[in-house]
């Protein structure tokens, strides 16, 4: 499954890259992309693991860039 979310307060491009790197090393994550320009996060993961991966995604973003928020 592939889903796109809008990110709020993603202010620096390097932060976007850092979030992307951190997310791609998550277990179960097929592919994560963070676009600084469109302020969008796309995550792709197997259907049965998606909720788990999404939870981990939120946690990771809180850790890496606490100012950035996912708008569901």
């Amino acid at each position: 499954m592939k889903k796109t979310y809008k990110l709020q307060d993603l202010d620096c491009a390097n932060c976007a890259a850092k979030i992307e790197n951190a997310l791609n090393s998550l277990e179960g994550m097929t592919k994560a992309t963070v676009s600084f320009m469109t302020q969008r996060l796309t995550i792709e993961a197997p259907d049965d693991q998606f909720d788990q991966v999404f939870k981990q995604t939120k946690k990771t973003i809180r850790k890496v860039e606490p100012d950035v928020e996912i708008l569901a």
Binding site: A16, F36, K63
Partner: protein, 620 residues
């Protein structure tokens, strides 16, 4: 915007305070007592730098060591410890000014790209229970009727059921000529209704409408990253730690071997290193350039589905074209008449009467060339001879119209024009009357498109077609193509494609241009699949990497130009940012560059790179 204004006020206040603190003692001719000086500078430092310090502390507790905020904090707190109060405040101030410019520039470019893609309709006027109600386009279902007034954007794809108007399609196609629509014609969401009021019956839900598809495509385009982008991401991962380690070594090693220098001097030099350690300029400006390039292309009516494709277009060596619908219009027209009767028009008239009941494209083009109305009372019996043509009675004369085989069957001597295209021979009462030559028409800009590709250093332009050799070669010659392969079945096209792929250089790319209807396998096999006439064709938008919304093949060289300009900007930014940083690093290590230069190498370079990146958006 509010956040930005607040930040600006903060910078202004701190800047004024800093100037006052520097100037007042100078003008007044007195010196502040040490404690006063320290206190006041610390207050200013806290005002301008508290958020950076706070983020640095917060991030270090989360294990984020190589963080911009931390590096700035270490650098300025280090300066404070060394007694350079003014320098610490100034550097922090300068850094914040740079950050402010950077976010303003990014916001501005984001907005201008967004406005470019501002084709999202806000509402639809639906007729429900005899009343017009304004609703969200997503709430309109298929089959409902919507009213579009002049000046409004067409919210959903559908068919005009009443009224006629002219439409501005420029947001979708880049084409500035308005298009006329009448009763019964299809309209596409995203166009702006210019003149008349039209009622449209909705044929697709919003999610499947042209507007939604295009927006989705453009928004997702930045997820397919270009090689240059991946390079920068990788580079950034090593750059920061490397500079930080170099800074630590610079602070520790030289004092051990060069005892003459004071320890503080080396620490100051190391601190300037820390300020330059963020790869921000690159990390921001490269994706921004690509995004701008994609935005600029979409303004021209060309949708590029990812930065990687935009990057690949610059290296195009071979462009392979499908013929029908790509280089030619795909509609047949009479190109030559050879008559033995009193006039060409007479021959055309007889053929038009004879072919009156045929719905074949060939007959359609004869009817069109004739232009007049067929008077059914002049027409007697019509007999269709499958695979040959027709035999009809017109004005009590027997008229034969058809191919060579028909003439041979009837034993009539005919003239063979030996020309490409389809020939319709006509005979009247057993006597040969002449022939009509019908050809597919080459698009107006096709020859120019090929020329421009050649000028853009594309090595080969090749045409693949299922048509016969005479027709195919004639078109290829007229357009100046390098080569044409004719008489190909779909499987044969893939085979030829493999051959051509083997001919290009390792870095070179092969682009295939088709209409997206029958050539999905070839589109997929090419390095870059380009679909023409994407407006309204779902298949093309799905299958291709690049979609040309109009029917013009000349857009291929346009988008290649945009691609090259974008890559040029990307290269400029990479070289510029790295060169400035390298120079400042070296000068810093030698003690020739102060922290101001370092801040410029960080945020100043970012701002310049962003401004440069914005040029990609204005590519023509």
């Amino acid at each position: 915007m509010k956040k930005q204004q607040k930040q600006l006020i903060r910078i202004g206040v701190a800047g004024a305070g800093f100037l006052a603190l520097k100037l007042i003692p100078m003008i007044g001719g007195f010196e502040l007592a040490g404690w006063w000086e320290l206190g006041l500078y610390l207050a200013l430092y806290a005002l301008i730098g508290w958020d950076i310090l706070w983020k640095a502390v917060r991030n270090i507790t989360r294990g984020q060591i190589f963080d911009e905020n931390l590096l700035m904090s270490v650098a300025t707190v280090g300066a404070l410890c060394l007694g350079d109060y003014a320098e610490a405040v100034a550097v922090m101030l300068f850094y914040q000014v740079g950050e402010w410019f950077q976010s303003a520039a990014v916001n501005k470019s984001r907005r201008s790209i967004a406005s470019l893609m501002d084709i999202r309709p806000d509402y639809a006027n639906v007729e429900r229970d005899g009343q017009l109600t304004q609703v969200d386009p997503e709430e309109v279902s298929v089959g409902e009727s919507i009213v579009v007034k002049p000046g409004e954007r067409i919210p959903l794809d559908g068919r005009v059921v009443s009224g006629s108007s002219t439409l501005d399609t420029s947001a979708l196609t880049g084409e500035s000529m308005p298009r006329e629509v009448h009763d019964g014609e299809e309209v596409i969401s995203g166009c702006i209704n210019l003149t008349g009021l039209i009622t449209v019956q909705v044929e697709k839900p919003y999610g499947e409408s042209t507007v939604a598809k295009i927006l989705d495509l453009v928004e997702n385009s930045s997820s397919k990253k270009a090689r240059a982008e991946n390079f920068i991401t990788k580079f950034a991962r090593y750059y920061t730690p490397a500079v930080v380690i170099a800074a630590v070594l610079l602070a520790v090693v030289p004092p051990l071997f060069l005892p003459g220098f004071p320890f503080g001097e080396w620490v100051t030099r190391a601190l300037t290193f820390l300020v330059i350690s963020c790869p921000c300029a690159l990390v921001i400006s490269i994706p921004l350039s690509f995004f701008g390039g994609i935005g600029g292309a979409s303004k021209q009516g060309v949708l590029v589905k990812g930065s990687n494709y935009l990057e690949a277009l610059a290296d195009t060596e071979i462009v392979v074209f499908d013929k029908t619908g790509t280089l030619t219009k795909g509609n047949f027209a009479v190109s030559r008449i050879e008559s033995r009767l009193s006039s060409d028009q007479e021959l055309l008239e007889l053929a038009a009467y004879a072919e009156r009941y045929s719905s074949h494209p060939i007959s359609q083009s004869i009817q069109q060339a004739f232009g007049g109305q067929v008077d059914a009372s002049r027409l007697g019996g019509v007999e269709e001879i499958a695979g040959h043509g027709v035999k009809a009675v017109v004005d009590k004369k027997t008229v034969l119209a058809g191919n060579r085989k028909l003439m041979e069957r009837e034993g009539i001597a005919y003239e063979d024009p030996h020309e490409a295209g389809t020939v319709v021979h006509v005979a009247v009462d057993g006597r040969y009357a002449g022939f009509i030559l019908i050809e597919d028409q080459v698009k107006e800009d096709a020859a120019r498109a090929i020329q421009e590709l050649k000028r853009a250093h594309v090595k080969q332009t090749v045409m693949l077609t299922g048509d016969n050799d005479a027709t195919g070669q004639k078109v290829a010659k007229a357009l100046g193509l390098t080569r044409a392969y004719t008489g190909l079945l779909p499987a044969g096209k893939v085979e030829k494609m493999e051959e051509l792929l083997a001919q290009k250089s390792p870095r070179g790319k092969l682009a295939f241009v088709g209409d997206g209807i029958n050539d999905a396998p070839v589109l997929a096999r090419a390095d870059i699949g380009i679909a023409m006439g994407g407006l309204g064709s779902d298949a093309a938008i799905e299958a291709a990497d690049v979609v040309i919304m109009t029917d013009e093949p000349s857009k291929i060289s346009d988008v290649m130009r945009i691609s090259r300009k974008t890559l040029r900007i990307v290269r400029q930014n990479i070289v510029f940012a790295l060169a400035v940083k390298a120079v400042v690093l070296i000068l810093g290590a030698l003690g020739l560059a102060n922290m101001w230069a370092a801040v410029f190498a960080d945020v100043g370079v970012s701002v310049i790179a962003i401004l440069n990146a914005m040029r990609a958006l204005r590519a023509k």
